[in-house]
């Protein structure tokens, strides 16, 4: 009862209100194409992982990632793909894998690490995510975490 007044959406009376889709450049692909891309990437990441090539699997998974509105299915697949790579990498290999990535990919990986920590599921292993988080922070710094917090292009 005491919080009932909060249900009024005052923003609808503001013609100039900032909408969520105005906060970032939207993806140029349409949602169906994003989903197809995510599925195709799942296959190619799997084959790269089978060859033991973690770096190219990870850089593949972290490029052209699905973000924004209306791509929830693709986001689920993309998170699974990234988590499968993180879960199968030996702890001692992590620093070298991270060093081979670009700063842009560091930022995207940090988003997936936080997304992973926020999700639940059989493929989420908090211990492994914390390990990656620690090593990624050593290389990309606090700035990388700040960028994850500010970026509206959520994964």
């Amino acid at each position: 009862m005491e919080g009932a007044f909060r249900k009024i959406d005052v923003d609808i009376y503001d013609e100039d209100v900032l909408q969520e889709h105005e906060l970032y450049e939207p993806d140029s692909r349409d949602p169906a194409a994003v989903l197809d891309d995510a599925r195709a990437k799942q296959t190619s990441v799997r084959s790269a992982l089978n060859k033991g090539d973690t770096v190219s699997a990870l850089s593949l998974a972290l490029s052209d990632y699905p973000f924004g509105l209306n791509v929830d299915d693709a986001k689920v697949i993309a998170l699974q793909v990234v988590l499968s790579i993180l879960n199968t990498t030996k702890s001692t290999d992590i620093p070298n894998v991270l060093k081979a990535l670009t700063p842009e990919q560091h930022d995207v990986l940090m988003k997936y690490i936080y997304k992973g920590m926020a999700s639940s599921g059989s493929d989420v292993n908090g211990n492994i995510l914390l390990d990656w988080h620690e090593k990624l922070t050593e290389i990309a710094g606090l700035g990388c975490i700040v960028r994850t917090m500010t970026d509206r292009k959520t994964v």
């Binding site: 100039d16 900032l18 906060l23 922070t137 606090l142 700035g143 990388c144 700040v146 500010t150």
Partner: protein, 390 residues
């Protein structure tokens, strides 16, 4: 040479500072409704004048070097121009305020004189920039608003050397370049890289912060042919309108303020409590070091490992609560940072020029300190992480 550090307020935050032309006086805002003028005597600063007219916190101060006028902007939605005039009764020289008709309905956040000192611009939370010029007929300052297409609070502005263009950083995550041409004041400006026809409110450029952070600081390069901005996504972006945009992703916490020291060099400072130096050109920019040599011996600085905010008192309180179950901070709650500033830096400004480049800069911080740095004494950042111990 070690930086000159002045602890002006024993911990009261310094929101803004501005020196006079010969650097013998400085006007500061101690997070209060009055601006304080301090006069240098040897190695200390003595309060000499109080500029009291605002009703709320003064957010920004700028002291015009040639005309010796001070402009203050405040959360009370007003700006005042202060001028030294003889008191009609006593003949004593006093700072006399003149109200500026800003016509904004939110706080004023930032103010800067134009290079010719015949205009100034006030950024505000009213999604507008008030460009003010003097109306001699009515003997007051009038303003014209730059509004479109600003979608949120304007956090910082900077003037182009041609006295017409203005750069603005805003909480809608964009930095923009506008024309603030006032026909009563300005001669027709020659064409620049930003455009040739420049009526009032022309948008000469709009640039988004790379990872969606508020744009806290903007600055034109000395020539005016490039513009840099710092945003809350811990990045510095340099815009060359003719050739493109360069971005530096910082490993440290976000910068709140920046200044160019030459056409190839920028100093930025903020939540990491130390001024970082960046250098580059159209081909690309990179961080080259810090002005704060945190590895060297420092008088009064505690020799504790760790630099930056993570070693703060609050962090240690939570850490001891986590590891030892201590709920109160107890002994050693006030941890000294290894950096010269003990809290976020709010403003960095050029202090001294030599041979056309800035040789010294001044910074003020939330720790109440005013520091003057040699801009050429760049030392390597001690560790990439600033000593974060995870």
């Amino acid at each position: 040479m070690a930086p000159e550090t002045f602890n002006l307020s024993q911990g009261t935050p310094l929101l803004a500072h501005s020196f006079n032309a010969d650097r013998s006086q400085v006007a500061v805002s101690f997070n209060s409704k009055d601006a304080q003028i301090l006069t240098r005597s040897g190695s200390s600063w003595t309060p000499t004048e109080l500029l009291a007219e605002h009703d709320k916190v003064i957010t920004s101060i700028d002291w015009a070097p040639q005309s010796n006028r001070i402009v203050t902007a405040s959360q009370d939605r007003n700006a005042y121009v202060w001028q030294e005039t003889p008191d009609p009764e006593t003949g004593k020289i006093v700072w006399k305020p003149t109200l500026v008709l800003l016509r904004i309905n939110r706080a004023a956040t930032y103010v800067r004189w134009s290079p010719n000192e015949d205009k100034f611009a006030v950024a505000s939370g009213a999604r507008a920039i008030a460009v003010c010029s003097f109306d001699p007929e009515n003997n007051w300052w009038v303003s014209k608003h730059l509004k479109k297409p600003i979608r949120s609070t304007v956090l910082a502005i900077d003037w182009h050397p041609n006295n017409v263009l203005i750069a603005a950083g805003s909480a809608d995550m964009k930095a923009r370049v506008f024309s603030a041409y006032i026909k009563e004041v300005d001669a027709k400006p020659p064409p620049t890289v930003w455009g040739s026809k420049l009526p009032f409110n022309t948008i000469c450029g709009e640039y988004t912060s790379p990872s969606g952070g508020w744009v806290h600081a903007v600055a034109f390069s000395p020539s005016g042919d490039a513009m840099a901005f710092a945003s809350h996504d811990s990045s510095i972006t340099v815009v060359y309108p003719s050739s493109g945009v360069c971005t530096v992703k910082m490993v440290s916490l976000p910068a709140m303020t920046l200044t160019w020291t030459s056409e190839q060099s920028i100093i930025a400072a903020g939540h990491d409590c130390q001024p970082y130096v960046f250098s580059g050109n159209e081909g690309g920019w990179e961080g080259v070091g810090t002005l704060d040599d945190v590895t060297g011996p420092k008088a009064g600085g505690a020799a504790r490992p760790g630099v930056g905010k993570l070693n703060s008192a609050a962090f240690n309180t939570f850490r001891s609560a986590d590891s030892r179950g201590q709920s109160s901070s107890g002994a050693g709650s006030e941890v000294q940072l290894l950096t010269t500033h003990q809290n976020s830096i709010t403003s960095v400004r050029p202090y001294e020029f030599s041979g056309g480049v800035v040789s010294k800069v001044s910074t003020s911080g939330l720790d109440g300190r005013l520091v003057i740095w040699d801009a050429n004494e760049v030392s390597a950042v001690s560790t990439k992480l600033g000593g974060l111990s995870v």
